[in-house]
Amino acid sequence: MKKSSTVQELPGAAARRPTPPPAWQPRTDPAPLLPDAEPYRALGTDAVADADPGLLLRLHAELVRGRRFNTQATALTKQGRLAVYPSSTGQEACEVAAALVLREQDWLFPSYRDTLAAVARGLDPVEVLTLLRGDWHTGYDPHEHRVAPLSTPLATQLPHAVGLAHAARLKGDDLVALALVGDGGTSEGDFHEALNFAAVWRAPVVFLVQNNGFAISVPLAKQSAAPSLAHKAVGYGMPGRLVDGNDALAVHMVLTEAMARARRGEGPTLVEAVTYRIEAHTNADDATRYRPDDEVETWRAHDPVRLLEDELTARGILGEDGVRQAAEAAEAMAARLRDRMNAEPVLDPMDLFAHVYADQTSQLREQAAQLRAELAASDEEGPGETR
């Protein structure tokens, strides 16, 4: 390792030295904690041949489905069926791999963009989209599939993941928490505090940063001056890993290794997946205001779905039939989703008061009664309200 410049410039070296200061901790070797200079890539390497073909086909099918899910959800915003949709088009490899590396007992802590990871984990898509449709905040029971609520305040879900993983470890349960965050989210204090707690507690948690180059309009260069976001890991005493986020197999492998490490009681890992947000931030955003089209085109050439499909086709792991089947399954999923989302959700305004506390306070009982009376009065007055 190159000598650091300060020391080189400082004159003098070992001569008659008094006793050194006692060391505060065993000065662990930082080298194994540092990421490689280039993102790890599996596609196009022997890793593909070594991989379980079943896994490869599963990844492919989920990527195709995931892409279709993204386009369908975006279409639903245009039809007014979703209040907003932050698409993960271009990031499907990360979303899908994050879901597939989890065992049943593991937990996923998604950020607001990670609808797809939750869906790939097996949740009912309509329940996952509840937040974005706007009929409730979280549409699913987090305990059912061990997926925490989609977190809107950025990075705030990371300490939750750490706490949950820590609690499981204290109870002796074998589970790992996987927490997702964006490149922008790494700037928040909660990111720092979560990673530090995780490392100090050796909590079985894996942090996956999807570095898609932007926080809404703000490019990475205005977000961080670090050699890579994965380099943040060493400052907490955990390994940092850099992976091509559009290479589904690579993301799956790096995450699998990190999960295994956590399971072995060796503590957390920070994984940075380098990827790109192909669509605008959300349907409400205009990405042409802050990035050139040709940048998007460059990344389209590195499309995660195509990368995997080409590789598997070239290697004969995936045939024409397989491609067609995956596309058909995705189409069927989209049609089902469209139908279900076209149905008007059944809403009960009284739910507003039902879950604020375990037991309703007298104040909330009064307010609920007020609303109930208002609703009754307006029912009498006019025709039943829709939505």
């Binding site: 907003v84 809107t152 305040p153 700037s187 309009s217 507003l352 208002e374």
Partner: protein, 334 residues
């Protein structure tokens, strides 16, 4: 207000113009926040500022609200006038420590040697179909923090005038922008826009004699509409727009309530622990013997802000205001 040519403008346009004029007049005014530069802010309030004044005057920061406000403190220490944008109400919470423990206290702590002329712009309130954490009314937190001014416009004129006044203030100002009024329009004269001077004066938006509606920000249009509707019931309602929650204009409010003898405080923030308690209490302290009925409050329910499809049940509307007016014990009178 003036006689120069007026045309319709939105509150968003007036706010943008206020920022622009302030930056043009005073090179120490700097805008910083998430997406305020190239994008012009998610509500486009800072649109064009980076292009006109450069990235150093209108800066896209890293995504960290405590960092934004904390660095603004340092910039203010060095003589700049930072105008910070918090992207949404709930995303200001990570900056509360800096706000409460430093921004609000620095002048006092240093016996006036280190004032912090910082404006913290916070788009607040609901009614725009935002998902959770995008529609909070957080003014109670700011009001409970001595050392801050808390200001909120309800009209296009005031959007300009109050923001200019906030930026010019040598004290920190939390400037609450009612999101759902961003696109409200009014005749406005951009050629001679007026600064509101001094901050801290409420204004009577509608004269009336039966009762006073005390309100601010997003609820002003509701109250004005309610006042119109109330005429049918024989009530002539006065509407006071507070404009500034801190300092509070006791004089204007008390004068009105003493005259009308009845009052309803209307706001979107939750009722319990919200601004209305303070307002009702201080009005009562000052006008007790003029009151024919207790000061009532019409507020959001005491619940986390609802999802988009249910928010209209939560937001105080014209009917709820009229219901409250009806409960002002008219029978005990005349």
């Amino acid at each position: 207000m003036t006689t120069v040519a007026v045309k319709p403008a939105t509150m968003a346009q007036a706010l943008r113009r206020a920022l622009r004029d302030a930056m043009a007049e005073d090179p120490s005014v700097h805008v910083l926040g998430e997406d305020v530069g190239t994008l012009g802010g998610v509500f486009r309030i800072t649109d064009g500022l980076a292009a006109e004044f450069g990235d150093d005057r209108c800066t896209d920061t890293p995504l960290a609200e405590a960092g934004i406000l904390g660095t603004a403190v340092g910039m203010a220490m060095y003589g700049l006038r930072p105008v910070v944008e918090m992207q949404f109400d709930a995303f200001a919470y990570p900056s509360f420590e800096q706000l409460i423990s430093h921004v609000a206290k620095m002048r006092n702590r240093t016996r006036g040697a280190m004032p912090l002329p910082i404006t913290v712009r916070v788009p607040y309130g609901g009614g725009i179909g935002g998902v959770e954490h995008h529609s909070d009314s957080s003014e109670a937190y700011y009001m409970a923090t001595p050392g801050l001014h808390v200001v909120t416009p309800a009209t296009v004129d005031d959007a300009y005038g109050l923001l200019r006044a906030a930026i010019a203030s040598d004290d920190p100002v939390v400037f609450l922008e009612p999101k759902r009024l961003y696109w409200s329009k009014a005749a406005w004269s951009p050629d001679a826009p007026a600064v509101v001077e001094p901050v801290g004066r409420a204004v009577v938006r509608r004269r009336g004699s039966s009762a006073t509606l005390i309100t601010y920000g997003p609820s002003l249009p509701v109250c004005l509409e309610a006042a119109e509707a109330a005429r049918a019931e024989g009530w002539d309602l006065e509407v006071v727009d507070l404009r500034s929650l801190v300092p509070f204009d006791d004089e204007t409010v008390a004068e009105s309530v003493r005259r009308t003898g009845r009052a309803v405080v209307v706001h979107e923030s939750t009722g319990f622990g919200g601004p209305g308690g303070e307002i009702a209490a201080r009005v009562t302290e000052r006008c007790f013997h003029h009151l024919e009925a207790p000061v009532l409050r019409v507020a959001g329910f005491d619940i986390p802000y609802p999802p988009p499809m249910l928010e209209r049940h939560h937001l105080p509307g014209v009917d709820r205001v009229l219901d409250a007016v009806a409960r002002l014990q008219w029978e005990t009178e005349s």
